[in-house]
């Protein structure tokens, strides 16, 4: 089954960094894109402008995906603005790093709610349409943290490992309906979110460099494509060999 013409892609946290690169890349592949953002409307507008400058179609929609009501509204507004969401990229994420002995309940909850619960809720909603359409692509942006340890990120690791586990199970549930569910696990990628840890971390990477956001987006673009229809329930590491 090929992507229906009326379909759109929703990229959460699509205003900056990896999310913005994914939004631009999917638009280059012909997807009309909803660029979701929580607070940085200017950055979202720049991403939309970048897509439109290349002849693509995009709209920016504000919503905090950790909020159930806002997440539901995000799906509704996406459908109204462009069309049914048949490609969902759960990219929105936050960090609240601390050693486990010092990690507060608030820091734990904030990361789990946005990175994992928010992804689940949006996936649950989007699947209803995807199942009926007999086509869908759900792509979670996980992390090498989760499959691997990283001191100071027990909450982030739990959320990202949870995203991988959730995706595998959902993939099995909906595979017979032409809906694929996968995760992409970036390693050290140059973004605003990672700038503070990148320099000391890159020396541990076999490729001896940090990755680029476009290299993560390339994997998402493949997983969203018709060509990836038989790829489901898996995780693609984009990490310069770090997890090997």
């Amino acid at each position: 089954m090929s992507k229906p013409d009326s379909a759109c892609a929703l990229v959460t946290g699509g205003s900056r960094g990896i999310g913005a690169a994914i939004a631009v890349g999917l638009a280059e592949d012909g997807w009309p894109v909803v660029v979701n953002y929580r607070s940085d409307g200017d950055a979202a507008a720049r991403t939309v402008a970048a897509i439109e400058a290349k002849g693509g179609r995009a709209v920016a929609v504000a919503a905090d995906v950790s909020d159930r009501v806002q997440a539901e509204r995000l799906l509704d507004e996406s459908v109204e603005a462009i069309g049914p969401v048949l490609c969902l990229v759960n990219n929105a994420g936050v960090r609240a790093d601390n050693l486990a002995v010092s990690l507060s309940d608030d820091e734990w909850d904030a990361v789990l709610t946005t990175n994992l619960t928010g992804s689940f809720r949006l996936t649950r909603l989007a699947l209803r349409t995807m199942i009926r359409a007999r086509f869908g692509r759900v792509i979670g942006i996980a992390s090498i943290v989760g499959p691997r340890a990283n001191a100071g990120q027990a909450n982030y690791a739990a959320a990202k490992a949870g995203l991988i586990g959730m995706s595998k199970t959902v993939a099995v549930e909906v595979a017979s309906r032409g809906v694929t569910v996968n995760t992409v696990a970036p390693g050290f990628i140059e973004t605003d979110m990672t700038r503070d840890v990148l320099e000391r971390a890159a020396s541990a990477v076999p490729a001896r460099r940090a990755g680029r956001v476009e290299e993560v987006a390339a994997c998402v673009r493949f997983l969203a494509s018709d060509a990836a229809g038989y790829v489901t329930g898996t995780t693609v590491f984009v990490d310069g060999g770090l997890a090997a």
């Binding site: 209803r128 199942i131 009926r132 549930e173 909906v174 017979s176 309906r177």
Partner: protein, 81 residues
């Protein structure tokens, strides 16, 4: 709309949906079980969505938990509508 729905209308919607899922039309009778038609839980979820949209009703889990046959479902939906 709800007060004007007949069992025949519900049967028609259910039958059309089951045919769309791949069931042969002649196998669909009130007595036949969904299990014997190879209708899985995801099909039943989708069938519920179709019924809700078609008849503007809400099917709760408690409404459908004991449904085994096509006739069971038609009876429940017609009673709700």
């Amino acid at each position: 709309m709800a007060s004007t729905i007949t069992k025949d209308q519900v049967e028609g919607v259910v039958t059309d949906a089951l045919v769309k899922f791949g069931t042969e039309r002649e196998l669909i009778t009130p007595e036949v079980t969904f299990e014997s038609l190879d209708i899985d839980s995801l099909d039943l979820f989708e069938l519920g969505q179709i019924i809700e949209e078609e008849f503007s009703i809400e099917l709760k889990g408690s409404d459908v938990k004991d449904i085994a046959t096509v006739g069971d479902l038609v009876h429940v939906v017609a009673a709700l509508a």
